[in-house]
Amino acid sequence: MDDGNLTDQAAAALGAALAAEHAAIFAYGPIGVRLTGAAAGQARSAEAAHRARRDALVVALTDAGATAPPAQPAYALPYPVTDRASALRLAADIENRTAAVWRAALPPTTDTDRANALAALIDCAVRATRWRRLAGVVPATVPFPGKPA
């Protein structure tokens, strides 16, 4: 994301990715408080990774003269996070959702922007797999990460 030059479609896709990263960062708050030990550490590093993606997106969109959507004050969670099981489930769902927006950013982007989107898709897919393993979901992998169901 260094050419400072985005097509409208690429800017829209990266804006959607930024919105999803904002939501993911928010979600890892309630997720983290329900986890302990290694799982809590995994949540912390996942949140840090989403913050890094967010920051890079803000820079890229701003440099390109595109609008960087700000974070909402709060996000409605799809279901209550009340225990370890629901926290692990939401973490996997969050990674699936962010994987999907990064996947959608592949077609309209090129070069460095596409490489970044692909790296983000990979990261989200691998984290989703780790959460599913921790939750005991079998199989822990899906054939087409990020592909809408």
Partner: protein
């Protein structure tokens, strides 16, 4: 000479010929060298290059998927305890190959048609490591092609790249 060479063999042969031709040219003259080769029956000069249709770039990803599925099969045959870990991965590779075949218009194929797969030796751990290394190698190829793919294909190839990464994660 009835032997048909593949295009790359021809290119290789042509390169060798050029080098050797130059060396011989210094000693006996290019014409003499050409005559020597012709009389050896190689017939490099009069054969037209085979008009090999250029393969779709994504065919490499499709063939990797078929090979990986066959490798999973071979590992499970050798070490049945690995079935629960490798079968979902194998199914993903079959799904990738099927979808890629649809996109590039290749005939459907099953993993059994992939090149013969040697059963990993050295125990189940070594077999998993072999699958993991193959997944990593395939990910490199698919990544390169994702970054150069037209927009209509980028999402599919990107999902396949990500899937290969998740396979390595569960094979650790």
């Amino acid at each position: 000479m009835p032997v048909r060479y593949r295009a790359e063999d021809q290119q290789y042969a042509a390169r060798r010929w050029t080098r050797r031709g130059l060396i011989r040219a210094g000693a006996a003259g290019a014409a003499g060298a050409a005559a020597a080769y012709a009389s050896a029956g190689c017939g490099l000069w009069d054969r037209q290059p085979d008009p090999q249709p250029s393969a779709d770039p994504l065919d490499a990803v499709r063939l990797d998927a078929l090979r990986l599925a066959a490798l999973c099969d071979a590992a499970v045959v050798a070490y049945p305890d690995l079935a629960s870990r490798l079968n979902p991965i194998r199914e993903a590779h079959v799904a990738h190959a099927t979808e890629l075949a649809r996109v590039i218009g290749a005939p459907a194929a099953n993993p059994a048609s992939a090149s013969p797969t040697s059963v990993p030796v050295g125990g189940a751990i070594a077999a998993l490591a072999a699958v993991r290394a193959a997944e990593q190698e395939a990910q490199r190829t698919a990544t390169r092609l994702c970054l150069t793919a037209p927009a209509s294909r980028a999402a599919l190839v990107g999902s396949i790249v990500a899937a290969l990464a998740t396979h390595q994660e569960v094979l650790r």
